[in-house]
Symmetry: C2
Subunit: 209 residues, 2 copies
């Protein structure tokens, strides 16, 4: 019978993983709390070389944690991201909202001449004030959010904007960092995605901070 | 009012994304069908440099597609992966099964002295024969699967084994490729995760192939 030699204890695996990341990744530009969030993002994708591309606005960690502790909603651009949140960490019953598959979204996309991922954000408006926004998939959603925020008096608390891909991802994250309408966290360049974004949110919700 | 200049048409975005990947990534070692699956995996993480780390066993694409067309179940190691499958592509009503949060899993993990991710696979046994297995998160799950398959006469059809991380990920994927108990797809090294794994499955289920 095959029996491989590998670590089977979850806590040991986590500890050794985080030790490896802290040894290999350059986290010196981050505060301790930021370094913890960055470590979880690196853990989610298996690449220490994303460290220099991670950007926190100075007030991101405190602002996001305050929004979470107030029970504010988490608005997600994809179902995968919404299902990547570790529920027992979010102890203030934050509603997790994803409107991508709302029946109104396809028509909205047609009317606005944009993707469904971007149009779905129109349905966030009643939940936007004070919320935590997480965009982990679609660059068009992040662009659309920045356009919407020009016209919305009730701003979200913070934006975790980490869309992925080869068209618009890099530019939309540059725009987020330049406009910075509210505190934000991003991972510059093409990399991103639901897993890295969920890891960032789970880290912000963790008792380590 | 802010109005950014970016592509808003989903089809145009996909086409330009895939053109960019095909231009930048070395896909020459793959069959056309494999190259399509690899393109979707690259698209999901934003990195063309994973191409040489992607390994298909020669019969993976045909075997996986046959399992899908027979309505076989898809067994997933994480909820995030299960929710990353684009339902309307899976036109043969394949059940999507994830047992990580089954009430029996924590006790099984304790009894077996392993992680919950690995123990959850014990509950796959009634669904295993002919299934498509997708491991996109936990290296311990992939190791445990290889150990289980020694004792199970009814093998799955194929394994998509792409766990991520700094402890066991690389070794578990090497073991998958060496043992190769059934046709498999993997991404060697530390990289992996639910998003890349879901992208591979969605590509295998697509009408492009």
């Amino acid at each position: 019978m095959t029996n491989f030699d590998y670590l089977r204890n979850g806590e040991d695996i986590y500890r050794l993983s985080f030790e490896t990341i802290q040894k290999e990744a350059n986290l010196s530009g981050f505060s301790p709390a930021e370094a913890w969030v960055a470590t979880r993002m690196i853990h989610a994708c298996g690449r220490v070389d994303i460290a220099p591309l991670i950007q926190f606005s100075p007030d991101l960690v405190a602002t996001a944690q305050r929004a979470l502790s107030l029970g504010q909603p988490i608005l997600c651009d994809s179902e995968m991201l919404a299902h990547g949140l570790t529920k027992n960490r979010f102890s203030h019953n934050n509603p997790v909202i994803c409107t991508l598959h709302d029946p109104q979204t396809p028509l909205l996309a047609q009317q606005l001449g944009t993707t469904r991922s971007a149009a779905a954000l129109e349905l966030w408006k009643p939940h936007m004030a004070g919320s935590l926004i997480a965009i982990g998939n679609a660059p068009t959603a992040l662009f659309h959010l920045l356009e919407m925020l020009d016209n919305i008096p009730d701003k979200p608390a913070a934006i975790i904007g980490i869309p992925v891909g080869f068209v618009g991802a890099e530019d939309s994250k540059t725009a987020l960092a330049q406009q910075a309408p509210v505190p934000f966290l991003t991972l510059h360049g093409r990399q991103g995605g639901s897993a890295i974004t969920a890891a960032a949110l789970n880290a912000l919700a963790s008792s380590h901070l």
